[in-house]
Symmetry: C2
Subunit: 248 residues, 2 copies
Amino acid sequence: MHVRIIQAHPDPGSFNGALSRAATQALSRDGHTVSLQDLYASGFDPVEKGAHYTNRQDKVAFVPLAEQRHAWQSGSVPADVLTEIAELERADLLVLQFPLWWHGPPAMLKGWFDRVFLSGGLYTSRVRYDAGYFRGRRALLSVTTGAPESAFGPGARGGDFATMLWPLHYSLHYLGFTVLPPFAACGVQGHGYSYEAEDTQKTRLRSVLAAWGAHVASAETLPALPFPGWQDWDAAGQPLRTEHAARG
Amino acid sequence: MHVRIIQAHPDPGSFNGALSRAATQALSRDGHTVSLQDLYASGFDPVEKGAHYTNRQDKVAFVPLAEQRHAWQSGSVPADVLTEIAELERADLLVLQFPLWWHGPPAMLKGWFDRVFLSGGLYTSRVRYDAGYFRGRRALLSVTTGAPESAFGPGARGGDFATMLWPLHYSLHYLGFTVLPPFAACGVQGHGYSYEAEDTQKTRLRSVLAAWGAHVASAETLPALPFPGWQDWDAAGQPLRTEHAARG
């Protein structure tokens, strides 16, 4: 496999950085290749706006999806976005590495979705979901949380990962990716603020790094998360009343 | 009521802008006051990073939550964040106006959460959920979608609003807000790309603006969305097996 890791943490020395390094090490050991994009270090601009488009179809009103389509058709996609797309096209597996902030990805990663996955280019009304652009490729979320694992689950205080990660998972499914079960490193506390003595945390986190390395290295055989596809919907997009669709 | 509207769309002339103006008009007519923050127009930086903190506790490692707590305690909160907090403290109702991009808020709005709601200041391990900082205040999401309303719902192609909006709703609940039922303006298509003839869309969207005005003007009497609170969890944060907790 060739693996693309998108990392979204403001500090490369954070545990998120350590997780990316552990993934690279485990994958390399198995003969896979890895390309890492640290969105913060590269100064990626996550804000979708008119200024990114040098060849505007409409120079007054800015309609994001219309300008994305126009940029794709006219060969004027922003250079940083072109690079991201080229790297995605090389990858068999996409890994998104980020801390869970406010029950979702940091703005840096959310904006990577907003800017990179161009309307008219990487999806159309027909090229999406199980007929999506990236079909045949896999995607995997790796998140860190400050709260301990015991705080999460359906109805639990910290929320349920399936619900919290649904927007990102479904967006990856929309783009055609096969979405793999996520990996969560919980109870990751910054310097000088910990639920446990620092040495205990260090020992525990070392085993988390090993577990993540094993998880990502098994990406070729992990079962996909189930999402509804075209066969499950009627023409309007409502679920057909079949056993399969009921899972959605 | 005093109402704070946070708008996150790159074009103030968009339908999102029209929705903010419709809300302002409907609320003013009823004697309420409104303060609008157009995050794009004001150049808000949604990226949480070390450079925002002028009085770092740790000048090498950047631990976001630790620096947020330190900035709050040492009176060195970034100026733009201080302004946002002061405006929130004046408001009885918070409205978030945004287009749904990739099943969530634009990076601009996600980063407003990442930067404004400071750890140690606007929440602590005890001051959150129904004991949260903003308890007694209301919050309301107003979203636009390109897809028509018929594409949404449980198991439907476009996804279910309750799931898509859960991360934002639960974050607002975490902060103590009473979360009101969201408003969705669907089938909002940009210039030159529409499922329907332009005149038909215009007539339909005029009625959507009126419906939104009525919705936001009724915010004082709208029923709250149910979320679990402290009485529903055990000490670890897992749900107690009661009828009430089962709703979460």
